[in-house]
């Protein structure tokens, strides 16, 4: 039994590492590849949970994560970047070092928070939840510190990865997990595709600074 938890924590830990890797990358293509790696790791983690917790319905979630977020979406975004001539470099609000440090702080915060609060729950669920919360916060951080619209999308999707991990860690959460996963992925994809195209039609870059000039609040 211990072995099962060790492996699930290892996979969750690798996902956390990919979250850091996302912050580290300089090029949009590298960001997309790292995101694909994170999604594949998520698929593995969910599949492992499906096998070890004896919940076959989670295999579907793993499959969705693997195909949609591990393959289809990164490929689609790669094509979009190439076709729309989006900046290949990631415009940064803060440097890599600062971002990584803040990421570390967030990981520590997530741990401290969850450990103070969840005294009654099983220790393994707590660990996994702490890692998942750290991944969520780091996805959020990525959305804040990177200015390219594509990387903001990737940041959001890595947040979603963390959420799915958290939902898997909470033992026994019923079929709704699959429903919400499928929905959020499908509709998110639809929205992103629509958006990125529309943004490109209007601007020459997908730099959010350029968007900011349109801020309506000043009217």
């Amino acid at each position: 039994m211990n072995q099962a938890y060790e492996i699930s924590h290892l996979l969750a830990g690798v996902m956390l590492v990919t979250s850091f890797a996302l912050l580290y990358q300089q090029r949009v293509a590298a960001v997309l590849n790292t995101f694909a790696a994170q999604s594949i790791t998520l698929a593995l983690a969910v599949a492992w949970a499906a096998w070890s917790q004896d919940r076959p319905d989670l295999f579907i979630t793993a499959l969705i994560a693997l195909t949609l977020k591990g393959i289809v979406i990164p490929v689609a975004l790669h094509r979009t970047v190439a076709r729309l001539g989006i900046h290949r470099e990631v415009e940064k609000v803060v440097g890599v070092g600062v971002a990584l440090m803040v990421g570390l702080a967030l990981t520590g915060l997530a741990q401290a928070l969850l450990f103070k609060v969840t005294h009654g729950t099983a220790s393994h669920a707590r660990e996994e939840l702490a890692l998942a919360l750290a991944i969520i916060l780091m996805g959020f951080l990525m959305m804040i510190v990177r200015r390219n619209a594509v990387t903001q999308i990737v940041g959001f999707m890595s947040m979603e990865n963390g959420l799915i991990l958290a939902a898997t860690g909470a033992r026994g959460m019923p079929l709704v997990v699959e429903v919400s996963v499928a929905f959020s992925v499908l509709i998110a994809l639809f929205v992103f595709a629509v958006f990125v195209f529309r943004i490109r039609e209007r601007f020459d870059t997908i730099d959010i600074e350029a968007l900011d000039r349109m801020r309506g609040d000043r009217r």
């Binding site: 005294h119 979603e160 019923p174 709704v176 629509v194 968007l211 309506g216």
Partner: protein, 478 residues
């Protein structure tokens, strides 16, 4: 046996699929109205049928009113949209293909909101809200101007973050309920969670509520999480602004309140009251001041929505039977009034061809009936008697004054400031020399008038059934 709530949720989705296939926009608009009428009928049937609690759906005193209002406003907005949209095609802002999507998405959004209202499973509630939000995001960007896209993007980012945090809060609630109710569906069923709340770990409930407050609070438009609201209202089509302000904010607040009921059942947990009071007051006063500088009429009323949502959250934060009752009443009244105002704004923007307040002057000369309706609507939303909004605001202020006299000064102050701003703007638009074009207004005034009438009636006489429902819900809120 088909239940009313199943129709209320399923009919809009089926209609959405049908609407995708309908080519002509006129036929599509009519079909939209028909579908909304059907849903409204189902909603009425639901109101009079018996309460039920199932694994996935619940119909109790709390959501009965909101389902009724949701379906009603959906119907009237569909009516308004049917007549309004023709104008948009003429001015070239929308194409017939986009309109097909518009109608389909309209129905899908209504279905999702109904799903969120009817759901007894906290996961389903989240799914409904997320779907509705994402659909409105696309709708806000419908006009495809740079400003519209920027507004939709901002909305999307903030809404997504809100959704994610709310989902994490949902997971935490499940985690709290799991040791008590067992794994699986029971630990995600709201009615069971609420009943078993006293046995759940208070620390987890605290953390969960914080995530839920921030997550769903973003959707409600609480400051400082409100940044998406003004742009989204200003750049989207007017029917969408009406639905956003009148319905979606309410549904988000409803979800938040469902969770507050769970927390209220656990006395050892953190009292969410002070936080809610603080956030509500900040929203209220901030929005009231922001009303002064607005130059776009839709933005003006968007901030008014923030102000009112702040007041509601303040009321629920105060807690206690009277404040909760007042808050619930205010939710209902605001929903009707604000959507009515946006209908009027739609008419005005068509009449004047612009949304800028500077371009809208002298309506009493060019469009007298519209001017009267608009004036009444603004007076209603400012909280003047005999409209329903006055009743709820008055109740909130008096109960706050009875319990914490000094505290009551703050919302009163905010409301007065807001009142002043709205009156100033009203004066500008209604009186004075007419400026600019004066087009004929094609859209039907029936929805707007209907809403105003309802609010007026509610201000004069509240049916006892309604009072009973609100009272029971207020009890649950703690």
């Amino acid at each position: 046996m088909i239940h009313a709530y199943q129709i209320v949720v399923a009919a809009p989705y089926i209609a959405a699929l049908v609407l995708l296939a309908i080519p002509g926009y006129r036929l599509g608009a009519i079909a939209n109205v028909a579908a909304s009428a059907l849903t409204f009928g189902a909603g009425l049937w639901l109101v009079v049928s018996e309460r039920s609690v199932g694994d996935y759906a619940i119909v109790d005193e709390f959501n009965i009113v909101f389902i009724g209002i949701n379906t009603l406003v959906g119907f009237t907005t569909a009516l308004f949209s049917a007549s309004y949209i023709g104008h948009e095609i003429e001015t070239g802002r929308l194409t017939p293909t986009l309109l097909r999507f518009y109608h389909a998405m309209f129905q899908a959004m209504m279905g999702s909101m109904n799903l969120a209202l009817v759901a007894n499973n906290i996961g389903l509630m989240w799914v409904g809200l997320e779907l509705a939000t994402l659909i409105t995001v696309v709708m806000v960007g419908l006009y495809r101007t740079p400003q519209a896209i920027e507004a939709a993007w901002k909305y999307f980012i903030l809404a997504s973050v809100g959704i994610s945090l709310a989902f994490f809060g949902t997971i935490l609630i499940y985690l709290a309920g799991q040791p008590v109710l067992g794994e699986g569906v029971p630990a995600m069923t709201w009615s069971l969670l609420q009943a078993a709340a006293s046995r759940m770990d208070p620390a987890i409930l605290d953390l969960a509520f914080i995530f839920l407050l921030i997550g769903y609070g973003t959707k409600v438009g609480l400051a400082p999480l409100h940044a998406w609201l003004p742009d989204a209202h200003a750049e989207g089509p007017t029917p969408i602004s009406a639905v956003l302000s009148g319905l979606l904010l309410n549904v988000a607040l409803y979800a938040l309140l469902r969770f507050k009921m769970v927390i209220a059942g656990q006395p050892a947990a953190l009292d969410p009251g002070p936080v809610m009071i603080a956030m509500g007051l900040v929203s209220l006063i901030f929005a009231a001041f922001m009303l002064y500088q607005r130059r776009d009429i839709k933005r003006l009323f968007a901030y008014s929505s923030i102000e009112h949502m702040g007041l509601m959250v303040f009321a629920f934060g105060m807690g206690g039977p009277l404040a909760n009752f007042a808050g619930l009443l205010h939710m209902a009244m605001h929903s009707l009034t604000k959507s009515g105002i946006f209908f009027a704004v739609g008419h005005i923007s068509q009449a004047k061809g612009s949304q800028r307040i500077a371009d809208i002057k002298g309506l009493s000369v060019t469009h007298p009936r519209l001017a009267v309706a608009f004036a009444l609507a603004v007076l209603a939303i400012s909280g003047l008697p005999p409209f329903g909004v006055f009743t709820s605001e008055f109740l909130i202020l008096t109960t706050t004054f009875a319990r914490e006299p000094w505290l009551a000064l703050l919302p009163a102050f905010g409301l007065l400031i807001g009142f002043g701003a709205l009156l100033m703007r009203l004066q500008d638009t209604i009186f004075g020399e007419p400026v600019g074009p004066a087009h004929r207004v094609d859209a039907s005034s029936v929805p707007m008038v209907l809403h105003l009438l309802l609010v007026l009636i509610a201000g004069l006489y509240l049916p006892p059934a309604l009072i009973g429902w609100f009272r029971r819900a207020a009890e649950l809120l703690g």
